[in-house]
């Protein structure tokens, strides 16, 4: 494993363990950065240590101890010194990441900072990457992160999983953030790769922990099902050259059947006591009130269990999107609903719906319009829409896909 891969896959986990010990985000981050810097300098000559993760944790821990000694604040740093000294030199503790998420998502932290802080600390995304994803200037985001970290330290926001009385009310923020981590991995907002498998795996692991923590709650299980069902399609989403493959063109034999089976089983268990009806507008509709992840998981299950693209139950998917839009109104959901309506064969209805949407700066809206225009044979209009989407897209693989389509409609034009 290269250092870059190590950084991607283990940064958050090592950092979580360090933060548990030092209770100081900045100190922990600085120490871990130093450890990586030493690795960059030493490993190429000496070769990597037998257990690189343990080495990084131990080196960062020693750097943090040096730093605390240096500050010479003996009295009330004593406890941290002891915790640090006993910090296991083996693998980081999985529960640490969950503690870190609940700390980052504490209601005393501004909502816009909660997500940024989680992506930064748990997933190791850089300030620049997060700023780009949220469309905010880098200095603004950097300031938000600093403010949040300072508040955690000065106001002594505890580094722990909330108690039973607080847990349910704090859960939705944690679920939301786990889903954002997954989405960042499933559809990377920037960079050269369209998928960051490490982030998807992290999110699934965290959701499993949340399910274990709250076995009777429906939404953690629904979120886990949703992510498993989406992640199952990952091997088929890009081709050999890293280009995006649309759902309808994907090789379904590449889909991970074990993940689909697990996700579907989770979903079945959620609905088992409500006797699911084949029509989502009746029994499912009622039982899914207040359950955004269960609705999305039901949509993902319909996709994943369709034997071929042609046999996808698009009318039911469109109906589920309509329920979802009622529950959490959003132009993104309307965009997906429009696509489902188009796939049900109602291209013109879908185009009308898209024309009512406003998503400034978001390339998927013009991309979807372009696609519908292409399907109705309106190639010159499609070319204009592809051009618009291309001017907004940030991901290289998606850009290549749009360029290919633009070329198609341009050469087919009269």
């Amino acid at each position: 494993m290269t250092l870059g891969e190590l950084h991607r896959e283990h940064y958050g986990r090592i950092l979580a363990s360090l933060i548990r010990a030092v209770r100081d985000f900045t100190l922990a981050e600085d120490a871990l950065q130093e450890a990586f810097a030493i690795a960059v300098a030493q490993w190429p000559q000496k070769g990597p240590p037998p257990n690189p993760v343990a080495w990084l944790l131990a080196t960062a821990r020693n750097k943090a101890i040096d730093q605390i000694r240096h500050r010479a604040m003996a009295a009330h740093k004593h406890e941290e010194m002891i915790t640090l000294a006993t910090l296991e030199e083996s693998a980081p503790e999985p529960a640490d990441t969950l503690r870190l998420i609940f700390t980052c998502c504490h209601p005393a932290i501004a909502p816009e900072a909660q997500i940024a802080l989680t992506l930064h600390t748990v997933c190791g995304l850089t300030t620049e990457e997060i700023a780009r994803a949220f469309l905010v200037p880098v200095p603004t985001l950097a300031q938000r992160l600093v403010r949040a970290k300072t508040k955690i330290k000065l106001a002594a926001i505890p580094y722990s999983i909330p108690g039973d009385d607080e847990l349910p009310s704090r859960l939705s923020a944690a679920l939301h953030v786990v889903y954002l981590v997954f989405n960042e991995g499933y559809s990377a907002s920037s960079g050269t790769e369209i998928i960051r498998a490490d982030l998807c795996a992290d999110a699934i692991r965290l959701a499993r922990q949340l399910v274990g923590l709250l076995p009777l709650e429906r939404e953690p299980r629904a979120l886990l099902a949703l992510m498993l069902l989406n992640d199952a399609r990952r091997p088929a989403r890009t081709d050999a050259s890293g280009d995006l493959v649309l759902l309808e063109d994907q090789d379904r034999t590449l889909w991970d059947r074990a993940k689909i089976a697990e996700g579907t089983a989770l979903l079945d268990a959620i609905f088992s006591h409500t006797s699911p009806s084949p029509s989502p507008t009746t029994a499912w509709g009622k039982s899914l009130r207040g359950a955004p992840y269960a609705l999305q998981a039901a949509i993902a299950a319909l996709h994943a269990n369709a034997p071929t693209a042609d046999k996808t139950d698009w009318p039911q998917i469109a109906a589920l999107y309509a329920l979802l839009a009622q529950l959490t109104p959003s132009p993104i959901i309307e965009l997906n609903r429009a696509v489902a309506i188009a796939m049900s064969g109602h291209l013109e209805n879908a185009l009308t719906l898209l024309d009512q949407l406003d998503l400034p700066g978001y390339h998927r809206l013009p991309a979807a319009r372009a696609d519908l225009l292409r399907r109705t044979g309106r190639f010159p209009e499609a070319a204009v829409a592809y051009g618009e989407a291309l001017s907004l897209v940030r991901n290289d693989a998606e850009r290549r896909h749009l360029q290919k389509r633009l070329q198609e409609v341009s050469t087919s034009s009269p």
Binding site: A108, K153, A156
Partner: protein, 121 residues
């Protein structure tokens, strides 16, 4: 870790309460405080007379100006404060949640207490 719990009364809401209701809230607040003293979470609480009794000092052009009234005239005013001794913010929040004044429109602000010349970061 010490937190200062600042208690802000909503003057409009407070004025709509009956005398009995006000006395009841005062009594409950007293009991809430006594329980904190017993559990070791508080040593003292300070109630403040209303803003109409306040005197404000400022300095301008090298002269001290003394005026009648509070620093800021707002609907909500600082009615008192309590110094809480807690392990972390969640403990302070749990105590503040039980503050009886909350149900009559009082807002509570928790701020970490800086003791002596402790560094502020």
């Amino acid at each position: 870790m010490q937190y200062v719990m600042l208690i802000y009364l909503d003057s409009q809401r407070w004025s709509t309460l009956s005398t009995d209701e006000r006395n009841r809230v005062h009594q409950e607040c007293g009991a809430w405080h006594e329980a904190l003293v017993k559990s070791g979470h508080s040593r003292s609480c300070s109630g403040l007379q209303p803003p109409s009794t306040a005197t404000t000092l400022r300095e301008a052009h090298g002269k001290t100006i003394i005026t009648d009234g509070p620093f800021a005239e707002t609907k909500e005013f600082l009615g008192g404060f309590e110094i809480l001794e807690c392990a972390h913010l969640d403990e302070a929040i749990a105590i503040a949640k039980r503050f009886p004044g909350l149900r009559v429109g009082t807002a509570v602000e928790l701020r970490p207490h800086v003791v002596g010349n402790e560094c502020k970061d």
